[in-house]
């Protein structure tokens, strides 16, 4: 009897203590960064990332990771060209000053071919290191998978998700006089461009000289129907390729990576893009990705295609008097090409260098950067941002944002945004083709002659330009 009482008491005590333990420490065996990082506490890792408001906000959160894990993080931010030159130099030279470096998708080909990127598959499979709630399926695709995976390997997590959106002056598109005049001229209602052809019509319609009327007001200076990035060495080449050429059903390479610059669809798309320059501010050839939002914010143009993270910096009460008058959409497709849409996006990751001395600790940090909780904090601190996870679209800062149409546009562009193909000489190709595109746009050569010249020059760089898994 006494034994039975003892047994019952012991069982009750055991249940009670187990319950208490579960209540105080969560489910038995629950994964935490603290526990996962125990073997690496005290380690210092150095990460190189790009400086934009997104990364600056992330930098403020890094202390949380260190507090939780004991892993000290030197989170170094440099400008776009410096991240590319310094990061690549560090990885390729084997110096190993950085444990991980932020990579834009066009860099992947060179670094994969140099075999300086450390795959993370072994860490992903390690239950001690990988959060069971990581939820890889939540990363926005096709950007995530086309960026992070190559062959059988995974090289990181989608960490930044730059994307271009269509951006227009809602106040002009909704103005009754302008709507009536537009319908009379083009036979359909004036609205944010749903196709590239509509974008062209809107561009031509709103291009007006000083002294003409615009939305009932007399213009004190020339006004332009569209502004596009045009500088050499910026992102002009990528935008023309993905927003125009691919939406035209063309492409610059075939499936095997052989250059096909002079395909008729490509020539037609480039001609269309160059024709838009007639409705653009003079000197668009010098406009960088920073000038374009500046011009829009100053109210000189009716519409554009711009990087959404730059839009976030302009469409604010402080930055532009036109705040609240803008409308956004995903990159418009070409009429009849809706089945094969594409938008210029730049999914980016932070990849672990093969020369990293602390790859596990680095992996934990990279995982933490894209963790749902960190992403929630990041978007919360930015009051928006650019999501890398589908679940982030439901966060109040995005769902209930005054710029909700911008986030909808981002979502639409990202649905059609892919990482760049893996070609070791992609920047060289972009440089050569970028110069020719400028010559086409400024009327120095025709689209047909330009794309033929581009084909010849790119063939001089590589015959089969894509990297194949395993080589």
């Amino acid at each position: 009897m006494i034994g039975s009482v003892h047994w019952k008491f012991a069982a009750a005590a055991s249940v009670l203590s187990t319950t208490l333990l579960m209540l105080t420490s969560g489910p038995v065996g629950a994964w935490s960064y603290k526990e996962a990082a125990q073997p690496y506490a005290g380690t210092t890792i150095t990460i190189l990332d790009e400086v934009t408001p997104l990364q600056e906000a992330m930098k403020k959160l890094v202390a949380k990771f260190t507090a939780e894990t004991g892993i000290k993080v030197n989170y170094e931010l440099l400008s776009h060209p410096e991240v590319i030159s310094k990061g690549q130099a560090d990885m390729l030279s084997g110096r190993g000053a950085y444990d991980a470096v932020m990579l834009h998708s066009p860099q992947m080909g060179l670094l994969l071919s140099a075999k300086v990127l450390r795959p993370i598959d072994t860490y992903l499979a390690n239950s001690k290191l990988t959060n069971p709630d990581l939820d890889s399926a939540d990363f926005i695709d096709p950007g995530s998978s086309t960026l992070a995976k190559f062959g059988a390997n995974t090289y990181g997590f989608l960490t930044w998700n730059y994307n271009q959106v269509y951006w227009a002056r809602g106040d002009l598109l909704n103005h009754p006089e302008e709507k009536a005049a537009f319908k009379a001229k083009y036979g359909y209602d004036l609205a944010p461009a749903a196709t590239l052809e509509q974008m062209r019509d809107i561009a031509a319609f709103f291009t007006r000289a000083k002294g003409a009327k615009l939305a009932g007001e007399t213009l004190s200076s020339d006004f332009y129907g569209i502004v596009l990035e045009g500088i050499r060495g910026g992102t002009t080449f990528w935008s023309v390729w993905n927003n125009f050429i691919r939406n035209w059903g063309g492409d610059l390479f075939d499936a095997e990576g052989k250059p096909t610059f002079d395909r008729p669809e490509n020539v037609a798309a480039v001609q269309f893009w160059a024709d838009l320059w007639k409705s653009s501010p003079p000197g668009q050839a010098e406009y960088s990705l920073i000038d374009v939002p500046t011009v829009m914010g100053n109210g000189i143009a009716a519409q554009t295609i711009a990087w959404s993270d730059f839009v976030l910096g302009i469409d604010t009460p402080k930055a532009s008097k036109l705040h609240g008058k803008f409308v956004y959409a995903g990159i418009p497709p070409k009429v009849g090409q809706t089945a094969r849409r594409q938008a210029e996006t730049e999914p980016s990751l932070v990849a672990i260098s093969t020369h990293s001395r602390a790859p596990e600790a680095t992996y934990l940090f990279l995982q933490w950067m894209v963790d749902k909780a960190t992403q929630k904090d990041l978007i919360g601190s930015l009051g928006g941002g650019v999501p890398v996870r589908n679940s982030s679209w439901g966060l109040p800062q995005i769902k209930d944002s005054p710029n909700a149409s911008l986030f909808k546009a981002m979502s639409e562009s990202l649905r059609h945004g892919y990482a760049k193909p893996r070609a070791a000489k992609l920047y060289e190709i972009a440089d050569v083709a970028g110069a020719i595109l400028q010559d086409i746009a400024t009327g120095k050569i025709t689209a047909a002659a330009g794309m033929k010249a581009a084909q010849e020059k790119v063939l001089g760089i590589c015959q089969k330009c894509f990297l194949t898994a395993g080589n």
């Binding site: 140099a114 501010p281 050839a285 010098e286 000489k425 920047y427």
Partner: protein
């Protein structure tokens, strides 16, 4: 005995000391210049020799690979883009440096007169030269940007001096705009250098010329110019070398465009290294530019020394 010894030792001393002193002195001299020489060799000569070495090799991903002989040189010398970049630099140097020289000398001559506010003007002349390249580029972007630049919008476009394009967006104008920026930045430096030179000239030749009844123009041509020649030669040489290497403003304002209109050798070299990772070609590029400059500097020195009597 002691006195003999003393006189002998003195005589020996007299015979040996000077040479010993000379030997000691020359060793000491080498010792003094050793840190500089070692530094120069380490930071200058060694990398240059290494550049020659890797220019003869295939350098995939920054790792020195197979010996390829002169193929990197051949690739560059047969590439029209390389020669175009050299042409861009020659145009840049050929226009910018003479303007800077003439304006610099004129400015220095004006400053050398007893003008008011000289104490204010001279420090202000340092401002453009001291500015960081990024600040210079931003400043001129704000001035000349198409549609919204201060000068572009208010002057060039309003007066239809530039229409349908912009200064940096036009292949015909961009290079001249970059030359203008260089002139703006470096002419004050030339003024200050020449002004310092003028201040240091001896007065006696001028007094003698005055006594002989020489006109100011004669004094300038016969006295000032010959006396200033060494300084002028050095300044021109330095500006030629510096202007040929122009990079910052091109990188920041045009990226080498429109097309290849403003792609200087430095810009191309940057791309070869940091964008294309063609380190073998980039090293060959550096060696070729060095050889061109070596020849040019020697010719320049001989002309300055023998014909202009500058050195």
């Amino acid at each position: 005995m002691a006195s003999i010894l003393n006189s002998e030792s003195l005589a020996r001393d007299a015979r040996t000391t000077p040479s010993r002193r000379r030997t000691k002195g020359s060793h000491f001299g080498y010792l003094l210049i050793a840190p500089t020489m070692i530094t120069l060799v380490v930071v200058g000569l060694v990398p240059f020799l290494y550049a020659i070495y890797i220019s003869l090799h295939d350098v995939p991903y920054g790792r020195v690979g197979e010996f390829t002989g002169l193929s990197n040189y051949r690739a560059l010398l047969w590439d029209g883009r390389f020669w175009h970049s050299v042409w861009v630099a020659l145009v840049f140097v050929g226009i910018a440096v003479p303007i800077e020289f003439v304006l610099g000398m004129l400015g220095a001559l004006v400053l050398n007169q007893k003008i008011k506010l000289r104490g204010v003007i001279v420090p202000m002349l340092f401002v453009p030269t001291m500015m960081a390249p990024i600040v210079v580029a931003l400043l001129w972007k704000i001035m000349l940007a198409g549609s919204w630049g201060l000068i572009s919008y208010n002057v060039l476009e309003r007066l239809k001096i530039v229409s349908e394009t912009s200064v940096f967006g036009s292949a015909d104008l961009a290079l001249y705009a970059l030359i203008l920026i260089d002139v703006w930045q470096w002419t004050p430096f030339m003024i200050i250098a020449f002004y310092a030179g003028l201040q240091a000239l001896p007065l006696n030749p001028y007094r003698a010329a005055q006594v002989d009844g020489a006109s100011p123009l004669q004094m300038f041509v016969r006295i000032t110019l010959p006396l200033m020649m060494p300084l002028m030669a050095v300044m021109v040489l330095l500006r030629i070398i510096d202007a040929f290497k122009v990079f910052d403003t091109i990188f920041l304002l045009t990226g080498g465009g429109p097309g290849n209109a403003t792609e200087s050798p430095s810009m191309l070299g940057y791309k070869l290294v940091f964008e294309f990772w063609k380190l073998g070609e980039a090293s060959a590029f550096a060696v070729i530019i060095w050889v061109l400059f070596f020849v040019f500097c020697n010719v320049f020195y001989q002309i300055a020394k023998n014909r202009l009597k500058a050195f």
